[in-house]
């Protein structure tokens, strides 16, 4: 057995069923060995998207996403994808080919110091020097990626190591790392403190982040919310923890969030921050947050607690475990009445604080609000919705109604072009579910090469492109902050999307008025094939 075969055997031990990637000489031995198995190989069209595909796959399957690319430019192209996964704590194992061990450091053809270059975007990285280390390293890599605060792990494998014979292959049963022992169970004393503090709060609120999805704790959170009568707001990554129309849910917080959600957060007397970073887009002045309320911060990563806001009660551990424990406490006492009043007040804010929308000429343009609301009502309940980055992302966060499905987006890094490859990965993980990717014309052109990947592997994803001929989010910023000086935001000569669809042999639908939009959605729902939808929106429309 050689190194490549050993790596593949490890992938089988980890029950990997798909690898997204791009080949090249330095990774060819690996793919050669992979070809002997039933593991599906997905050849994407540029390496960055291999990581996004693996990310979409990981988020829907709950497994570690695996991608493998060649050395040098293949590896460096992957970096944005790795960084995107890192910012959203998505578990990936990324394998990169490397030049011959003896040549490392001599700047030979297609050599890049990828472990060095990716250092600040990975949870951990390995450069395999000895073929006999492969089983241990692979075992550790999957364990590291998918435990604690999840994230990408990079494994750089020189081509000679891929070809060397391994003396004895045995896949380790156990992990033995003295430097890595993530906390799972929350500290019992801290949990009691949380329960005690909760018992005093008449206006509590819980703010859920992406950590709840990553921990698989959606059911525990929903039970906690109902049992204790606590309203919920979310960060962008926490969308979908509560169904959008759940009576306890008040929307996304932050500068792009819902006004009533922000008001609810401000007026609460106790804030439970769960699996969220308290980052700048969600909380404007985190240092002031504890001025008028008790802050309880629950996260699996101790470094997140106190990084942006100093909590009154820190609690480190896995959210699912912690909420199972919290849900065991029975003293729900007599606060339910006051909390019902609090929720009533918040519901009034929902009515009193409608979202402002600019006037849209719906004979010439589609109103994204109406479009997205209609779309989400007509989508199957369990549809997977992938939003790209830009105005389309903010619109999606506001108006897409999650029911039993998922909402995916690049929240931390804000990587344009994420939606097409991530939707691909999501569809691969859940082939029976309807998957929709929503993006702007800018993001579309960053990833449209993957349309051929979709066709090649028969992934039937609905693509919706909001076309306004602008980088809308930046244009909006220039409108508000730079006196309408629109530099570097006009996208002219975008290829005709009908021709693009034709070139890729896809179905094409278009809407440039509200009436056409309704028809488009109805038509889209009938199709189970790759459809490219062009939705013309007003270039002057705003997300805020």
């Amino acid at each position: 057995m050689n190194g490549s075969e050993a790596i593949v055997k490890c992938l089988l031990e980890e029950k990997v069923d798909v690898v997204f990637g791009y080949s090249g000489v330095a990774i060819a031995p690996f793919y050669d060995a992979l070809g002997e198995t039933n593991v599906k190989q997905i050849l994407i069209r540029t390496e960055q998207n291999a990581a996004h595909c693996a990310s979409g796959y990981a988020r829907i399957s709950g497994k570690v996403g695996v991608c493998a690319v060649t050395s040098g430019p293949g590896a460096t192209n992957l970096i944005t994808g790795i960084a995107t996964a890192y910012a959203d704590s998505i578990p990936l194992v990324c394998i990169t080919g490397q030049v011959n061990s003896e040549l490392i450091g001599s700047d030979v053809f297609q050599e890049a110091d990828i472990t060095g270059a990716a250092e600040s975007f990975v949870k951990y990285s390995y450069l395999i020097r000895d073929v006999n280390d492969i089983p241990r390293i692979m075992k550790e890599a999957f364990y590291i990626a998918n435990t604690g605060r999840k994230g990408p792990v990079l494994i750089d494998v020189p081509i000679d190591v891929q070809q060397q014979e391994i003396s004895k292959f045995s896949y380790p049963e156990k992990i033995n790392m003295r430097t890595y022992k993530p906390t799972v169970e929350g500290n019992a004393v801290q949990i009691k403190k949380v329960v005690k503090e909760l018992a005093k709060a008449t206006r509590p609120i819980i703010c859920v982040g992406g950590g709840v999805h990553l921990s698989g704790a959606v059911d525990e959170i929903r039970k906690f919310v109902k049992d204790n009568c606590i309203p919920v707001v979310s960060t962008m990554m926490g969308i979908g923890v509560m169904a959008s129309e759940d009576p306890y849910y008040f929307g996304m917080v932050g500068n792009n969030g819902r006004p009533c959600a922000n008001r609810a957060l401000n007026e609460s007397d106790l804030l439970l921050m769960v699996g969220a970073r308290v980052a700048d887009r969600a909380v404007n002045r985190p240092d002031l947050i504890t001025e008028n309320k008790v802050l309880i911060h629950i996260d699996v990563d101790p470094a997140e607690i106190g990084k942006n806001a100093g909590p009154n009660i820190p609690l480190v551990g896995d959210i699912k475990h912690i909420f199972k424990k919290i849900n065991e406490f029975e003293d729900k006492e007599d606060l339910i009445h006051e909390r019902t009043e609090w929720i009533k007040t918040l519901n009034q804010y929902k009515v009193d604080m409608p979202e402002k929308r600019p006037e849209i000429d719906t004979d010439k343009y589609v109103d994204p609000m109406q479009f997205l609301q209609n779309l989400s009502r007509k989508l199957p309940k369990d549809a997977i919705y992938v939003a790209d980055v830009g105005q389309n992302q903010i619109w999606s966060c506001r108006w897409h109604l999650v029911r039993e499905g998922r909402f995916l987006t690049s929240g931390g890094m804000g990587t344009m072009g994420y939606s097409i490859p991530a939707a691909f990965g999501a569809k691969y993980a859940a082939p029976k579910k309807k998957v929709v990717a929503v993006m702007g014309d800018g993001a579309f052109q960053m990833s449209m090469m993957e349309l051929s990947t979709m066709r090649q592997y028969g992934m039937n994803v609905a693509l919706i492109v909001f076309n306004n001929g602008y980088l809308g989010m930046v244009r909006e910023y220039q409108h508000y902050k730079l006196d309408d000086r629109y530099n570097m935001v006009e996208l002219h000569n975008t290829p005709k999307l009908d021709k693009i669809a034709e070139a890729y042999e896809m179905k094409y639908l278009r809407a440039s008025s509200q009436a056409e939009a309704e028809a488009l959605i109805d038509e889209l729902m009938k199709k189970d094939e790759c459809v490219l939808c062009e939705v013309v929106v007003d270039p002057m429309d705003l997300a805020k």
């Binding site: 951990y124 590291i144 430097t179 890595y180 470094a303 990084k307 100093g310």
Partner: protein
Amino acid sequence: MKRIYSVLVENHAGVLSKVAGLFSRRNFNIDSLVVGETNSKDVSCMTIVSSGDERTIEQIEKQLNKKLDVIKVKTFKESMSICRELTLLKVRYNRENRRDIMENCDIMKAQIVDMSKNMMIIQICDTPERVGVFIEMLRTVSIVEMARTGTVALTKCCEGDK
């Protein structure tokens, strides 16, 4: 506020760059950094002196702990520890100031470890503060070259190993 971080790390290639990279990426200061082996061969000890406000100090410790090559982090104040720094100074001397220099060395317990007819190398091993004082004393003489190791430190015996 000044803090000393005694960081036990796996003795792997690349660990130093990971730790140093963490400081620069997160905008933490490094006043000094010393790396060397410990009594166990596969463990190195990095002694890092850094400064910042309370939250920064806490973040440094947490972020260090997050690194997968870090085995243990101890954070302490200078007053809780025995700190030493080794410094070598190459100075130019002449007949007039030679005696002065030697007296200063005597007072500060520094040693002259090498000499030519117009240059000498002085070695001082002391607390960072006293090393600073000694260097100030030699400012009147022309210092040709100087190399400081940075601080190494262990917590005092009475502090125990918490």
